[in-house]
């Protein structure tokens, strides 16, 4: 039992919590906020309800600072997996319920311990809480009454009242008693959309989806903008961004994705004889277009996946020149993160495998041999001012932008760039 449990946990990387009768969800840091707390809780509850929809038998109840999800036979692991991703949820505990009688509480506690099968030498404590004051034994008394028989059945455990590896919590209520000891970390943060809306520049690389997820976790509603340069970039690259947006939508419900045709703007920069500035100019053009789209959509900030020092356009002098292209706050959630941390985060949120698909995107095109790491603001300004019909090019790109609303389980596709027979006829299915 012990070995199997270990192997299972290591092999499949998930808690085996099939024993749970209910899930206990705890709220995250927003509970520190006074006045807005009710609004935040309401938003989380709405999001939780959304995630529970595929499991019709599950029932939700809200209590001060907590949400209970009664499983009624729905799969615990799958639901915990979905619910720990709800922004604002700090942790999820699988709970086993027992009738509020001493014998039953002890029996279920022992059963739970057998399922969890802690290793030899694990330190342990029982933490009982008597919510129902008519229960005949007090909390401290209960700690002893439960821990003694449990420890007898489990000689490998030792008691540690101060820093136990494992805390068996027993909450005695009138209708029944909740027993739990595991806690699965939730994503935490703020409930979705409680901090306004921003536009995310989504490239298809590893970083920008993580930046988007991080912004959403801070309560920002996000719309995505992707720049593509057909035929230099493929339709597959565009579809990949739709798919990335779909992963993000699993955390947000629906996400709007704006697909900006960027070929004309990008190729305009190749003829000016300042190859080392192409990237700077291109990034500025992206911010200019994104700013217009933000104004149109009512967003108050731009979010990018920039991380200091990663590439030439992400040196401080470059970021200075590029950032001046917009009046909006430019949020860079990853700016101080190491690549390795970003990769880990991408794997956790489920975008990594898509991000590493090998399609060209417009940022890897026309890369000069030595891009400037220290562009000159004055020169950049002058080039942009003298570029023939630059404003018209930007307008046209905004004009021709296609918007797709992406949902977690939908099959949204951008308009095909080359006309041909349509691939998917719904009557075939």
């Amino acid at each position: 039992m012990l070995d199997e449990h270990k192997r299972d946990a290591a092999g499949e990387g998930r808690h085996n919590i099939a024993y749970a009768d209910m899930l206990l969800l705890r709220f995250g840091e927003f509970t520190l906020k006074g006045k807005n707390r009710a609004r935040f809780e309401k938003t989380v509850l709405r999001h939780v309800k959304e995630m529970v929809k595929p499991y019709p038998k599950a029932a939700i109840t809200k209590e001060f600072g907590r949400i209970y999800v009664e499983l009624n036979g729905e799969p615990a692991a799958a639901m915990a997996q979905a619910l720990k991703n709800v922004f604002g949820i700090a942790s999820v505990s699988p709970v086993k319920a027992a009738p509020s009688e001493l014998e039953a509480i002890i029996a279920v506690s022992r059963q739970l311990l057998e399922i969890i099968a802690p290793l030899q030498g694990t330190s342990f404590k029982v933490n009982a809480r008597r919510v129902w004051k008519q229960f005949p034994y007090g909390s401290l008394e209960m700690n002893k009454l439960v821990s003694t028989p449990v420890l007898q059945g489990y000689p490998g455990l030792k008691v540690d009242m101060n820093h136990p590896d494992m805390e068996l919590r027993v909450e005695i209520r009138e209708e029944r008693t909740y027993i739990f000891c595991e806690s699965i970390a939730g994503v935490g943060g703020f409930p979705l959309g409680t901090n306004g809306k921003a536009m995310l520049l989504l490239s298809g690389g590893i970083d920008s989806p993580v930046a988007g997820w991080s912004s959403m976790r801070r309560g920002l509603e996000v719309e995505c903008i992707h720049f593509y340069s057909f035929p230099y970039t493929s339709e597959l690259a565009r579809q990949k961004v739709v798919d990335l947006t779909r992963v993000l939508s699993q955390y947000a419900g629906v996400i709007k994705l704006h697909l900006v045709p960027f070929t004309e703007v990008q190729t305009a920069f190749t003829g000016i004889g300042q190859d080392n500035l192409i990237i700077t100019l291109m990034r500025r053009a992206m911010l200019k277009i994104a700013t217009r789209l933000a104004e149109r959509e009512g967003a108050l900030a731009l979010v990018t996946g920039e991380s200091l020092g990663q590439v030439a356009s992400q040196t401080l002098p470059s970021m200075n020149v590029i950032g001046r292209a917009t009046q909006l706050p430019l949020l860079r959630p990853l700016v101080m993160m190491d690549k390795i941390e970003i990769v880990e985060q991408a794997q956790l949120i489920g975008t990594y495998d898509l991000s590493i698909l090998p399609y060209e995107d417009c940022c890897t095109l026309f890369v000069p041999k030595s891009p400037s790491t220290n562009p000159n603001m004055r020169i950049v300004d002058k080039i942009e001012a003298t570029l023939p019909e630059y404003a018209r090019l930007l307008d046209e790109a905004v004009e021709a932008t296609e918007t797709v609303s992406v949902t977690p389980y939908g099959n949204e596709k951008p308009r095909p760039l080359v006309s041909g027979q349509s691939a998917l006829q719904e009557e075939w299915f």
Binding site: R7, E12, L424, W428
Partner: protein
Amino acid sequence: MLYWDYAAAAPPFEEVVQTMEQLMRLHYANPSSLHRAGLEAEGLIRRSREVCAVALAVLPQEIRFTSGATESNNLAIKGAALQYEGRGRHMVTTQVEHPSVYESCLQLQRRGWEISFVAPGSSGRVDPARLAAEIRKDTVLVSVMHVNNETGSIQPLEELGRQIKAANHLTLFHVDGVQGYGKLPVELNSWKADLYSLSAHKLRGPRGAGLLYVRDGVKLSPLLSGGSQEQGERAGTENVPAIVAAAKAVRMSGEQRSALTARLLPLRDRLLRFLEQLPELLLNSSMEGAPHIVHFSYPGMKGEVLARKLEELGMIVSTRSACSSRLAEPSRVLLAMGRDHAAATGGIRISLGDSHTEADIEALEQAVKKAVTSLKITEGGRI
């Protein structure tokens, strides 16, 4: 001629044939190719996966497309065996499984696995407690069919799943769903099934296509190695037209299930009541069984003799399952249900489909009556 062998192969839906035809013309590109045509083919597979996932109330990434239920069953059993050998080398199944399950288990047995073959009761049903008693710490997988392909008996999957997981929560539960889907409700969640096999041609889809549901988190070692198709668990260029058509058949037969069952049940009941009255015959199916399978024996008479006689009278029936009908031995399934050698050799399976009417049943009854009477006096037909 009236066709009474739907359980072996059902005629495809007209819509399925049309879809197949159009797709074969239009979508021949390899779904793994990077060009637009490949991308479109890949999109068709993706959509098929979603359609099947909706029909089974599971996630799209939990569906693997295979060449049919035989492959699905082999992949479920041997794939789990190879993947989870570290947990132990023991499996539990029943004596009445389809050959693709039964033989896969025997193959593992020859390689040192221990297999517990649980005997059913006389009705063909397996007692959950009896099966759960076989489960040990090293039991990697339990495989039980939904509906028996010879007799139509239905296994108590919900109770089985509950007891299997209570006995060992790490033991995987595989359900061979081939004869159940489209006739009975499918509830993979309440069955606690980890693996579930389907074949398209039993659901009025194309041959050569099937699927395996693999619960999220369960890994299978591939039996066909090569490309990274089907999450690396089943290499080989996907048969796009067959997959799309299979998804369509899964959807359509799922949607038509309750209507079909409502039509078939009275027909089946009438046939069962009729057969019950013929003293020469022994019924192996019951009112508790699936709505589309009726199985009876003519003890002492070889099944194929009776089948040939019925064919002469215009009725195409089967001797037990098509997969084993060319074998001379008595039916393993009937023997396991406690029938004697004579009864187990003289089995006839009649399986119903949506084309059948009261009048067809009437004609079938007359033919059976005639065949039984005429064979009774023909000593040559005796064993």
